[in-house]
Amino acid sequence: MGRGGVYPRPLITRCKRHPKEKSLSQVKENRTRGEIRPVLAQRYADGWGVGAKRGRLQPSASPPFAATRRQVSVEKPMSQYPERLILNVGPQHPSTHGVLRVVVELEGEVVVRCTPDIGYLHRGIEKLMEARTYQQCLPLTDRIDYLAGSANNLGFVLAVEKLLGVEVPPRARYIRVIIAEMTRIASHLFWLGTHAHDLGAMTPLFYAFREREQLMDLFEAVAGGRLFPCYFRIGGLARDLPDGWTTEVREFCRTFPDKMKDYETLLTRNPIWIRRTRDVGVLTVDEVLDYGLSGPVARGSGIAWDVRRADPYCGYEEFDFVVPVGQNGDTYDRYLVRLEEMRQSCRIIEQALDRLPEGDIAVDDPTITYPKKTDVYTRIESLIQHFLLVEEGIRVPEGEVFHHTEAPKGELAFFIVSDGTSRPFRVRARTPSFVNLQVLSKLAEGRLLADLIALIGTIDIVLADVDR
């Protein structure tokens, strides 16, 4: 049985053409040209590596950071370095945070060269979206960064709403902020646990997951899903908050800073932790800007770039919070920045809860919002409205839109091209992990193998976010 038997129906039903593209072949060419292949050096492809098949990994002419490489490691056959060991770290490795593969050249314990190879978790989400209505795209965004599902939902719905030109009611806006900040805490907690685990401290993981579990339960209460809540809708929210939910969240915000002391006790002033993280992976301001890094990775180096503050959305300008920045730009500073961000997120949640108004949770527009279920059964207009929204989807006016948000891992942006139908012509997700991962080679070269693991952790990547 071939693959055709497994998928009897092609997933992508039609091929759309951009007005400027003449023929189908040109469409193909244009689409593949922009694709970024993992950078692997020529010599793996040329068979120095036993397992590398010729031509499978595309060699790159010059990596963007060629100039920073040590001169000796450029374009010389491996036989000249008999002391070098080529090691695969990943994809099946305990601490590459998923399926990252890093090809490492070692001299003893020192990493002389390191090449990340990505794509093991590529699901083609951007392409899949082209065949789906905007509402159907939403569950896909959950899976971009599966540790911060709601943050991705938020980025996508805000972009679509920008294109539609609608503004959600205040209650929905505040709830979105609450959920997004809770997601940030959950994501940072996960990072904290795994990062500590990578450095050999196995216990903080369980403490961090204890709190994360509370958040997951809260997500479940509000949306039914834990990792993939998919609670936001274009034009509002799926449903209103359940009774007593806000009290639970308040309780969480009240106790959480105390519980953070557990992590601080185990790590912040632990001499081994400090030695493992301080002066490891130092990023200067220039490097951050050159590589286009964002999120805590950028803030750890002292760049106070936070989209919530720099280009507020969802009414973030109303809230009083601090954008923490580091001084040295090393792993320890990024650790402190993330810890502080969790506290600030707590503050934002509390403020949002204080101001949470009563009212609608979605815009009152029959072409965007689903009618009430009871109306669908009793009123013909609502039935037709429901039918049209499900069958045809939300018609989005023709145009292009770019909207960026501050996801837990950095700047998450969606670029959507609409051709006036109810399905996006092209969606591009600028995910923070993908951009931040670039700097790994630069940071790891010349450091020890153990530092490489620490660096993968400090960049805080999720491979689903890198590969999409």
């Binding site: 008999p82 002391e83 593969r101 090809v103 020192v110 020890l448």
Partner: protein
């Protein structure tokens, strides 16, 4: 003279016997099926890249060499420790000088950077 160590040898032999039984049992009970993927050396799910026949950095040999020197010096100190009381001040000063030489050697190694890893 060597008879003292006979018990130790007996213990070694018995342990060997026990292990032989365990491994034999294990080899008999455990199933055996050879597949290519299973028999490949583990390298994170990829076919191994490159070769293992590499020269290991000289650093490790340097450390091994330093160790041997220090270890022998430490072993020299052991008999001294046992008869320390009988040796009197002469033994003490003698060993003081000996240890001083070792410490100077250690300082020299630091200065030379023999123990720097990066």
């Amino acid at each position: 003279m060597t008879a003292v160590y006979i018990p130790a040898l007996i213990y070694l032999a018995v342990t060997m016997g026990v292990m032989a039984v365990i491994l034999f049992l294990s080899a008999r009970i455990g199933r055996r099926r050879v597949t290519r993927e299973k028999m490949l050396p583990y390298e994170c799910g990829m076919d191994p890249l490159g070769t293992l026949e590499i020269h290991f950095p000289i650093k490790f040999y340097v450390v091994a060499m330093i160790f041997i020197i220090f270890d022998i010096e430490t072993v020299f100190l052991y008999p001294w420790a046992v008869v320390f009381r009988d040796l009197g001040w002469f033994g003490f000063v003698e060993m003081l000088l000996f240890t001083a030489v070792i410490l100077i050697g250690l300082v020299y190694l630091f200065r030379k950077g023999a123990l720097e890893w990066e």
